[in-house]
């Protein structure tokens, strides 16, 4: 079977990871954001305070649903119960999926879009896990795990 290609219904920017710390902070922002807050808008206003997970948790709403799923994931992968490790794994996947001529990721919104694209790519490429019966993107599950770690920090 040919490798499936992404359909063009949604356009996401190609990305290039240049600053691990920047990405990490955005991932923290992303993962700890409330499901009640639209992520792109949130990501646009997040970077300056991204290194303050506790502050994020207090200001971006209730991430409890994501955290519950994240806790379930961490119960199956206790070795990943670490913010640095989780962000590193997600960053690695982002790097793998970046195209050779990709533009640099500068804006938080672009990274948010890149993460959405990555999650979708996971489904297309069968890079998924079974979490309590849910078929979930590996990246998505780690984002929930990150939310759980931060939520319980």
């Amino acid at each position: 079977m040919n490798k499936p290609t992404l359909p063009s219904t949604r356009v996401y920017p190609e990305i290039h990871i240049s600053r691990r710390r920047f990405v990490k902070s955005l991932l923290v922002t992303w993962a700890s954001a409330s499901s009640l807050t639209w992520p792109l808008a949130m990501a646009e206003r997040a970077p300056t305070s991204a290194d303050s997970p506790a502050w994020l948790l207090a200001t971006t709403g209730d991430p409890s649903a994501a955290s519950r799923l994240g806790q379930a994931y961490l119960a199956t992968r206790p070795d990943e119960h670490d913010v640095d490790l989780l962000t590193g794994l997600i960053e690695e996947r982002l790097s793998q999926s970046a195209g050779p001529n990709s533009a640099r990721l500068e804006r938080p919104a672009d990274i948010a879009k890149a993460l959405m694209r990555l999650v979708r790519t996971d489904y297309i490429q069968n890079n998924v896990i079974n979490l309590e019966g849910w078929v979930l993107s590996q990246t998505e599950a780690r984002l929930y795990a990150l939310s759980a770690v931060l939520h319980n920090a």
Partner: protein
């Protein structure tokens, strides 16, 4: 014309060019082929024009395999099982006709191309649009929507159409009644197919009525069209010349019984923004008197790559979750669903949660799958006898681990597809390491028991549906399917019947 065997005097002999046993969709369709021609047809119906309890009871039998209702899954009166048909209409896929090295006993004697013209005609019979089962642009235009793109390479949309559903006796009965050359005989239970001493030629049919009358039918050609279970039974019962049964010189009659296992609750899909999923992908749409919806089916490429059996899925809205009403904490399913809808919302919706009255919906999933042809899955004769003194059916329906694993993989594909759509997340209730549950439903699809193959050692009938070794006996219906695919069998059995009609027209002219 219509006559009733109960009204005939004892030992009446009816004569015709063509005797058709069974007035269900296949029998009626075949008889219609000859309406108004010089060919004299005798169409034998065991029941009446409407259902009768004592007649229906003749379908009772013994189950020794997966529990299966022998009486509720078919109807013994004029129009046959079309009288409770749901109307699901779709042809088999081209791959279903192929010999697949991962599917034992697979391969039809011809490709789908052989059936295409008959499929077109069969669509007219059941009042659906021909040639629209894979036509995405057509349905996009009809619905005015752009369909989501299937991105994984595993699945594709196909379009199931719904017949009104056509009740064959109501739709075509008067046509048969008015045809001078067609006799429809009610309450005519065929109890034996008699043959010449060599068993190479059928010489007649023995008829019994429930009030004890006996009659005979004599014809030049005979067609058995009593359904996928009863066709095998009739051949096995006709055992005076060959004790193993007519056409059963290689112990194939009754073997390879196949159903389309239907597994309810194989998964649940949560969707945050229902508008992202076109209506046709979740419910039946109607236009110009027709109706259809999308089936989520595997691609031929994926079936080949992964060596899987065919399957089909459909989804429908089961329940909605309001944003302002938390689920009952005791309702585990609702808690799981709403947690996922909240957690994954950013992937699944453009609507701000506070602006959404509905948090999301969950979609129930219906699935039907192909099973491998399995000689151990079979119809044989019970020691119990019915009111006519005939041995009842003994059904041993079996499924294999291969059937199960294949279905699980396809359900997994459906989960991937909804993730890739950015429309939903799926809870998969099947595990590959498990096996079939004790209770499995079928689709009332009885297939394979008189399978078609050019080699008499591998099939009961040849490519023209003629019983191997018998010059003038044919079988119509889904019992001749060598493999089942995942599509509902009605359209294909009608196409095969029309093809048989063309063959017999030449033979009888």
């Amino acid at each position: 014309m219509f006559i009733d065997a109960l009204d005939l005097s004892e030992q009446t002999q009816l004569e015709a060019d063509l005797a058709i046993i069974g007035a269900g969709p296949a029998g009626i369709t075949l008889a219609r082929t000859f309406a108004g021609t010089p060919v004299k047809v005798c169409l034998l119906e065991a029941g009446a024009q409407a259902g009768e309890t004592e007649v229906q009871a003749l379908y009772s039998g013994e189950n020794v395999g997966i529990d299966y209702s022998l009486t509720a899954s078919r109807l013994r009166f004029f129009g046959g099982t079309s009288n409770h048909w749901g109307g699901f209409t779709r042809p088999l896929d081209p791959i279903d006709f192929e010999q697949r090295d991962w599917v034992p006993y697979s391969g039809w004697p011809f490709t789908i191309d052989e059936l295409q013209p008959y499929y077109t005609e069969a669509c007219q019979l059941v009042e659906v649009l021909p040639d629209r089962f894979d036509d995405i642009p057509f349905w996009e235009e009809v619905t005015g929507t752009t369909f989501p793109q299937f991105a994984t390479g595993r699945m594709r949309p196909q379009f199931v159409q719904y017949s009104p559903p056509t009740r064959f006796s109501k739709r075509y009965g008067s046509e048969l009644q008015q045809a001078d050359n067609i006799q429809v005989v009610f309450h005519a239970n065929v109890t034996h197919i008699t043959t010449a001493e060599s068993a190479r030629t059928v010489t007649g049919l023995e008829i019994s009525t429930l009030n004890g009358l006996k009659h005979r039918v004599k014809a030049r050609q005979y067609v058995l069209a009593t359904g996928g279970l009863e066709n095998a039974r009739m051949l096995l019962l006709s055992n005076r010349t060959n004790p193993a049964g007519l056409g059963n010189q290689h112990d194939l009659v009754g073997r390879f019984f196949m159903e389309h296992p239907h597994l309810g609750g194989c998964g649940e899909i949560v969707v945050a923004e229902l508008d992202r999923l076109p209506k046709m992908f979740r419910e039946r749409i109607k236009f110009d008197g027709y109706s259809a919806n999308v089936a989520y089916n595997p691609t031929a490429g994926f079936l080949r790559e992964q060596k899987l059996l065919n399957a089909t899925f459909m989804v429908g809205v089961a329940a909605k979750y309001r944003s302002d009403t938390p689920p009952d904490p005791g309702n585990e399913r609702a808690v799981k669903h709403t947690d996922m809808l909240k957690a994954a919302r950013r992937y699944l919706s453009d609507v701000e949660p506070q602006d959404a009255e509905i948090l999301g919906v969950w979609l129930g999933i219906g699935c039907a799958s192909e099973q491998v042809p399995n000689p151990a899955s079979r119809v044989s004769l019970s020691q119990e006898r019915d009111r006519l003194g005939l041995q009842k059916i003994r059904l041993d329906w079996r499924l294999t681990q291969q059937d199960w694993s294949s279905l699980v993989e396809h359900a997994h594909s459906l989960a991937l597809e909804f993730g890739a759509f950015e429309i939903g997340r799926m809870l998969l209730n099947l595990e590959d390491t498990a096996s079939w549950p004790d209770k499995v439903n079928g689709g009332n699809h009885h297939m394979g028991t008189t399978r078609m193959h050019d080699d008499p050692k591998q099939g009961v009938v040849d490519r023209n549906s003629r019983v191997h070794g018998v010059d003038n006996l044919y079988v119509a219906g889904s019992s001749v399917f060598p493999t089942s695919g995942a599509a509902n069998p009605t359209l294909t059995l009608l196409a095969l019947t029309l093809r048989l009609g063309a063959h017999l027209t030449k033979k009888l002219s």
